[in-house]
């Protein structure tokens, strides 16, 4: 214990919280130092004053309405879990049932299937068009070359056929045009003859007023 009022143990001494040995030492110091003794007396008086004033605070009770509000809050908190848990369970149930009802391995639509087959054909064609690697055996390279040649011939034949079809279509179109122009000419001459044969009506003369 220090011979100084700044030592917190002096408040403990004033409150009677020191051990017997510390108490004896404190009293010895107070006898030796009168200034310190007067300061400690001031501390004791302040503490007594504070205890007196603070001790006047009487016990308070909760207002009944507040008490009820707290208890209702408690019950509300308790029951709010019930609908929350129920909602969560329902959501999980829906999720699982949705997952179970999903068709597995559903066939792709016909359009998609066609697209896939078209891509497969294209891949095969590209694979055919690709020249055989030099490292491949001679037989394989000859086979690949023959396949490519056959494909080229097939393409040429198809192109030729398309060209012939186009020529035929053009010829038939010309023929149809010619026929339609002949029909127009015939119709014109028929109309003209009809116009000549039919006399034009003469207007009725106005009667003069007498």
């Amino acid at each position: 214990m220090k011979n100084d009022i700044q030592d917190p143990l002096w408040t403990a001494y004033a409150l009677g919280e020191l051990s017997p040995s510390e108490q004896v030492e404190a009293e010895r110091l107070l006898v030796e130092n009168s200034d310190l003794a007067s300061e400690v007396i001031a501390l004791k008086q302040t503490l007594a004053f504070l205890k007196d004033e603070l001790g006047k605070a009487s016990d308070k009770n909760f207002e009944p309405l507040r008490r009820e509000a707290i208890l209702q809050e408690k019950s509300h908190v308790k029951y709010i879990w019930v609908p929350t848990a129920a909602a969560a369970l329902l959501a999980v149930g829906f999720g699982i049932s949705h997952l179970v009802s999903l068709p597995r391995g559903e066939p792709a639509s016909s359009v998609v299937q066609e697209d896939i087959s078209a891509f497969q054909d294209q891949d095969e064609a590209l694979a055919l068009e690709a020249p055989a690697p030099v490292s491949a055996p001679v037989e394989t390279r000859v086979m690949v070359r023959e396949e490519m040649k056959a494909k080229e011939d097939h393409s040429r034949q198809r192109i030729e056929k398309v060209r012939l079809d186009q020529v035929e279509a053009e010829a038939s179109l010309d023929e149809r045009l010619l026929r339609s122009s002949d029909l127009e000419a015939d119709a014109f001459s028929v109309g003209r003859n009809l116009a000549v044969a039919t006399p034009t009506p003469t207007p009725t003369p106005m009667l003069e007023k007498e």
């Binding site: 030592d7 403990a12 004033a14 001031a42 008086q45 004033e53 603070l54 909760f62």
Partner: protein
Amino acid sequence: MNKLPPLEEIMDCHAPALLRYAERLVRNPHSAQDVVQQVFVRFSRLSPKKKPKAGSLKAWLYRSTHNQAVDLIRAEQRRKKLHEAQGEHKDLYQPESKNLHREQQVLDNLYRLKDLEQQVLLLRLQEGLNYKEISEITDLKEGHIGYLLHQAVHTLSTHFETSGEAV
């Protein structure tokens, strides 16, 4: 030991002391009721895992009451500043000290202490809690609590000496 008693029992056991403590902090019986009500509502909303154990329940309640009271005081101070800035009822919040009652004067000095000093002083002298209990509430070491208590008492003692109140 760790099982908490029902809320009704907890309220019956601790509410009076908490109300007294809160009223001292906020200086208003109605605000004190608000503060302690909030504490119990908060307690009831805690999940079972987060609820304090029976051994530390008292400390938790005091700590929550203090925090809630400090929040309310700060909110009041903000409101007061706002009112003062608007020039409304300035005198109502700053009464002249010469007209104060003796108790009010003591408390006025008490409220001028630092927050922790004030808290420790109230818990020790008004609530009669021991250093260990105060340590659990404030999360301070017992030695530090003794220091804060001494600082508070010494400050008030010096003030009373100069004002001739207690000596």
